[in-house]
């Protein structure tokens, strides 16, 4: 949520010409401190927003690679949990916040570096150089 929008009234929003966007946090490689319950909650909220895998080390010492796509927060860490997909595992998996000892934003942030401005710049440069069939292509899945 951006403070700039929050200060507007409904009438101002209706009259808005250019609306603020969202800042993209650089989280790739980040290892958050999980010293307090609040830090655990904040870190997992960011993991939910993150467009890459994270590596979770559980309190029992297991290391799990996970794409966190849901979180449900309860009154305590025990009754708060994440839901995630792990590579090479078919179904959805679930883990309580209380089981998590360490979190690392280890996977590539799939939302980073795909700036529209970069495409515009690259397109104009390639066009000026006489290039044909200019395109961005999806990453290979294998």
């Amino acid at each position: 949520m951006t403070a700039e929008v929050q200060k507007y009234t409904l009438e101002q929003i209706e009259a808005l010409e250019v609306a603020p966007g969202f800042e993209h946090e650089k989280l790739e490689g980040w290892v958050p401190s999980l010293a307090s319950d609040e830090e655990v909650r904040d870190a997992l909220e960011k993991a939910f927003d993150y467009r890459g895998d994270v590596t979770i080390t559980t309190k029992s010492g297991d290391k799990i690679e996970a794409y966190v796509f849901n979180r449900q927060t309860g009154a305590t860490l025990q009754d708060s949990f994440i839901t995630y997909f792990a590579p090479n595992v078919n179904g959805k998996l679930k883990m309580s916040y209380a089981e998590i000892a360490r979190l690392e934003f280890s996977g590539k942030d799939r939302a980073a570096g795909k700036h529209w401005e970069d495409w515009v710049k690259a397109y104009n440069e390639r066009k000026a150089a006489g290039e044909k069939d200019i395109a961005l292509h999806p990453d290979k899945l294998e």
Binding site: E4, V18, A19, K92, A111, Y123, P138
Partner: protein, 372 residues
């Protein structure tokens, strides 16, 4: 309006039935995303930004049918990702036709011409082809030169084979309304049933987009585009929604009108906003804090949204749910929306060499006055 009578009747009777049964919240269109993988890599698209192991996952036909039956909506839109990359998409489509659901298969059509022979024409099936304007605008928008030509080949082949086809465009800041109007002429000449359009949205997951078109600017753009209509233009949308875009109506979002189901589950609260997932449709409807969404809620994430998936259900429910709304819909269907001010707006519109998806500039003029 280009929607066939049978579809209108199905939707109208569904809305009336829900209204008479006292049901307050019900879906009109299920947004069924069977996969996120795509054969385009549009800059700024938030839908495809997942690790490979997630992009490889797909809903099975059985999961799709279960979701459709659970939601009970009369219409099913199948976006993605690119649905034609799903190896069982034909089975999914045929299963939904057998269930008498009106399907909008949303495709970028790069694969349409090659795969069209696998499908059978039906009044229940419409190919909703993503075309963001004229050739250059579309190719630039999807970051692929030649994309427009492939899509148009697919459209022409589908029309020739007797399929229902619409085009589906999202317009962002920088859009040239004169070009959009020329685009309407072009697609009507291709023989499509109608045009579907929507303003873009300030999608939180889109990377590093600084500023978006505010509501006033959306209204001004769509007033320029949609006023003084040509007689041959057809829209596969509620006329009331188009009036909302032009600034003639004030609507609130109906976020449960287009619920989304995908590989993660039932998306809260809507197709565009991702605030978590529910395991069942019942759970989605009963446990989502709906009052926290929509412009009136004050939720900044919803502040600028005027997108069809939230506001067209409002228009459709009004259109089929009250005599006043129905009359507005009938009148809108036949109106050309004569407007000299909009004509002047069009004539004086400053065009840009290419229409960037976002407005990148300072926010000093963010609350400037508008004539819209």
């Amino acid at each position: 309006m280009a929607v066939p009578i049978s579809q209108m009747w199905t939707v109208a009777s569904y809305v009336l039935k829900k209204r008479f049964s006292g049901q307050k919240r019900y879906p009109l269109v299920l947004m069924l995303e069977p996969l996120f993988r795509c054969n385009l890599a549009c800059a700024g698209c938030g839908k495809v930004q997942y690790p490979p192991h997630v992009l490889k996952r797909m809903l099975s036909p059985e999961e799709c049918f279960a979701a459709v039956e659970e939601a009970g909506a009369p219409m099913v839109s199948i976006p993605g990702g690119e649905p034609l990359l799903h190896p069982q998409i034909v089975e999914i489509v045929n299963g939904l036709i057998a269930r008498k659901k009106y399907i909008y298969l949303c495709t970028n059509a790069l694969e349409l011409k090659r795969r069209i022979h696998e499908f059978t024409p039906s009044k229940y099936l419409t190919f909703s082809v993503h075309l963001d304007g004229q050739r250059d605008h579309h190719d630039f928008s999807v970051c692929r030169e030649g994309g427009w030509d492939l899509a148009v080949d697919g459209i022409k082949e589908a029309v020739k084979r007797g399929f229902r086809v619409t085009t589906n465009a999202t317009f962002f800041d920088g859009t040239d309304p004169n070009s959009v109007r020329a685009f309407f002429d072009e697609v009507m000449d291709m023989g499509v049933e109608g045009v579907v359009l929507s303003p873009g949205y300030s999608y939180e997951k889109a990377p590093d987009q600084k500023h978006f078109m505010g509501r006033a600017r959306v209204r001004r753009l769509f007033r320029a585009i949609l006023s003084n209509r040509k007689p041959n233009w057809k829209f596969n949308m509620s006329p009331l929604f188009l009036e909302f875009l032009m600034g003639d109506r004030k609507y609130e979002c109906t976020p449960w009108g287009s619920p989304a189901y995908n590989i993660f589950g039932w998306q809260r609260p809507c197709y565009l906003l991702q605030d978590g997932y529910a395991d069942s449709f019942k759970e989605l409807m009963e446990t989502t804090k709906w009052e926290e969404y929509g412009v009136a809620s004050g939720n900044p994430k919803c502040a600028n949204c005027m997108v069809s998936c939230g506001y067209e259900p409002t228009a459709v429910i009004e259109g089929f749910g009250s005599l006043k709304g129905f009359w507005g819909m009938v009148r809108g269907t036949f109106s050309k929306y004569k407007d000299p001010h909009a004509q002047k707006l069009l004539a004086e519109w400053k065009t840009e060499p290419h229409a960037p998806l976002v407005q990148i500039e300072t926010t000093n003029r963010s609350l400037e006055e508008t004539n819209a």
